[in-house]
């Protein structure tokens, strides 16, 4: 696990221990080094001092070349366990006495070397002049001691240093462990609070604050955030509640509207059914009296022709004409009503085909009138076949009718594309109409020509418009008097 991932406690403790350890180590090392260096010097000085004392004591022995005395003097060195060897050289440089008395030949240099003390190969050696008075040199004292004292001291110091180090580190660890809590406790508390909030969505929890330092600030900021979150949560809940209320209200409204719509639909259905029944009885009940009127007028005309006279006959003819006209009006009205309530079945309708059939019909019915019908091919639309047949029948027959006075009557059925819409066009070169009354064209029973000019009930175009409207389309017309009329419709 990398250092980054260590828990904070461990990190803090580790840092503290590292620092204290380093400090202790450096201090100890310095101290030990100082100790050792100083001790060496001291040892050297001791040796020098001892040498000089010994040298001073050896003047007599050297002066008289007294071997026995010299040996005895040197023998005093046995009381110092660190003394390895010593020797007195006479003036001639010959060894007078040694310590130890025998068997130290390899330890003693054959001739005196220059005066001075030095460390040599793990031992301390020194050459001291033995002099009498001030300047009369009698000989040289050679002394060699081991450095065990130094190494002992070194070892001792090192051991002490290590022990101290250990104790100090322990103490440091204990203190660190105890005191790092000052830093880590607040952090851990904060971390725990954060985790609790995140996992349990508990926005009421708050981080404990341990002091006014940056951690305390952090805790404050965190708690503020939590407070804000709590508020926002409350606000959201309120919003949600309000939304729910509004949704409930709207739903209720919608249901009311739906109810109203359903009621409307039911009423419409009822009205339609009534209309159905009405149309049905109209077709019977209104026609029967008309039949009687016409019939009995004719009876009178036939049976009492002689007694009537021209005026009488004329009157009765008018009566007959009027009742027949009324029958036609009733029929046309019935057709209009049927168109409104008929069920629409939408499918692909071949308008050109239907138009051609209608033209054939017209031509068969009135072979004596020649009218040029120009039907464009492949005209199609989506709609109810029967109703569209009514439309085309009406419009084409109108075209045929109103060109009655033209020498070269012509009726065209085409389509154009206008802004993506398909517009069907039926155009004739007949009597046309005054554009000022264009809006009356499609009204029920509205006519722009008298019955004397052209027969008709004025219901045809109203029927056509109703059918077009049921198909979701528009119909309009353009024309000029005696210059023909053009009818446009979309589906």
């Amino acid at each position: 696990m990398s250092i980054r991932d260590w828990p904070i406690k461990r990190k803090l403790t580790a840092i503290l221990l590292l620092i204290s350890g380093l400090v202790l180590l450096l201090t100890s090392a310095a101290f030990v080094t100082y100790e050792v260096v100083t001790f060496r010097q001291t040892t050297l000085i001791h040796l020098a001092t001892r040498s000089q004392i010994l040298a001073a004591n050896s003047t007599a022995a050297l002066a008289f070349a007294n071997e026995a005395d010299a040996t005895e003097i040197l023998d005093a060195l046995k009381y110092d366990p660190h003394m390895v060897a010593a020797a007195l050289y006479g003036q001639d440089g010959r060894v007078l006495a040694t310590y130890p008395a025998a068997g130290a030949a390899d330890l003693i240099p054959p001739a005196p070397q220059p005066d001075g003390y030095r460390f040599e190969g793990g031992r301390l050696v020194g050459f001291t002049p033995v002099a009498q008075g001030g300047n009369q040199r009698l000989g040289t004292l050679y002394i060699m001691s081991d450095t065990k004292a130094v190494s002992d001291t070194l070892r001792l110091s090192a051991i002490i240093a290590i022990v101290v180090l250990a104790i100090a580190m322990l103490a440091a660890y204990a203190l660190a462990a105890a005191l790092q809590g000052q830093i880590s406790e607040p952090i851990l508390a904060l971390a725990n609070t954060a985790t609790a909030v995140a996992t349990q969505q508990d926005y009421f929890a708050r981080a404990p604050k341990f002091g006014e330092d940056e951690l305390g600030q952090l805790a404050d900021a965190f708690n503020q955030m939590l407070g804000r979150l709590e508020e926002q949560k409350k606000e959201l809940q309120q919003h949600a509640t309000r939304l729910e209320q509004r949704v409930a209200e709207r739903t209720e409204e919608l249901e009311h509207r739906n109810e109203a719509l359903r009621r409307n639909a039911a009423e419409l259905l009822a009205a339609n059914t009534e209309l159905d029944a009405f149309a049905y009885s109209v077709s019977h009940d209104l026609r029967a009296p008309l039949r009687s009127i016409d019939g009995f007028s004719q009876v009178v005309l036939e049976d009492y022709a002689g007694q009537l006279g021209d005026a009488g006959r004329d009157a009765l003819q008018r009566v007959r004409a009027a009742s027949q006209r009324m029958a036609t009006l009733i029929d046309d009205l019935l057709k209009l009503a049927r168109v409104t309530r008929a069920e629409m079945r939408t499918e692909r309708v071949d308008l050109s085909g239907i138009a051609r059939e209608i033209v054939l019909d017209i031509q068969r019915a009135t072979p004596d009138r020649e009218v040029d019908f120009a039907i464009a091919p492949d005209l199609e639309a989506q709609g109810d076949t029967r109703l569209l047949r009514v439309v085309l029948d009406n419009l084409l027959r109108n075209g045929w009718k109103y060109t009655g006075k033209q020498p070269k009557p012509r009726v065209e059925f085409t389509a154009v594309d206008d802004n993506g819409d398909r517009v069907f066009v039926i155009k004739d070169n007949g009597a046309g109409f005054d554009m000022r009354y264009a809006d009356k064209l499609f009204g029920v029973f509205q006519r722009l020509h008298s019955a004397a000019e052209f027969e008709g009930t004025g219901v045809g175009l109203a029927t056509v418009r109703r059918i077009i409207t049921r198909h979701g389309g528009r119909i309009w017309a353009e024309g000029a008097v005696d210059q023909g009329a053009t009818f446009f419709f979309t589906l």
């Binding site: 019977h284 026609r287 039949r291 009687s292 016409d294 019939g295 009995f296 007959r320």
Partner: protein, 147 residues
């Protein structure tokens, strides 16, 4: 001239007068029996408690649809339901040209459906054609014998 009778089922007395006149004006002299509502018509065809069923059936029935008591469609159903009269020619003669009536009429077994025109001249022409066709040209099924 075929001695066959015509049964005219019609509730409107004006229409009865006019129809009779129309038939007469074209020299159709066959006897015309008139029933003024559905119940009478059925009585005339099948008999009632007042009189027995007639020995002879009419050659053709001219049936109006809108009749009081029992309407024309029901009469037609009764006619077609009875073995005796199942094949009897029935011409629906009515003011209505509602599609529903035409379809129902043929579905119930009418032989023909004629809309009565308002124009009396046209009406007499239609009556003539009907008479000529159903009484002279058309061969009805033979009357089943027996009680």
């Amino acid at each position: 001239m075929n001695p066959g009778k015509i049964l005219l089922v019609e509730d409107n007395p004006d229409d009865v007068t006019l129809t009779l006149r129309a038939l007469k004006s074209h020299n159709i002299t066959n006897e015309v029996i008139v029933a003024q509502d559905g119940v009478q018509a059925i009585g005339l065809l099948f008999g009632s408690k007042d009189r027995p069923a007639p020995a002879e059936l009419p050659a053709v029935v001219l049936l109006d649809l809108k009749l009081p008591k029992i309407n024309g469609m029901e009469v037609l159903q009764r006619i077609r339901a009875d073995e005796r009269t199942r094949l009897l020619p029935v011409v629906i003669l009515t003011s209505s040209d509602e599609e529903r009536d035409v379809i129902d009429g043929y579905s119930l077994g009418a032989n023909s459906y004629v809309r009565k025109p308002v124009d009396f001249v046209e009406f007499t022409k239609a009556a003539q054609q009907l008479g000529l066709y159903w009484l002279l040209m058309n061969r009805a099924a033979p009357s089943p014998r027996g009680p």
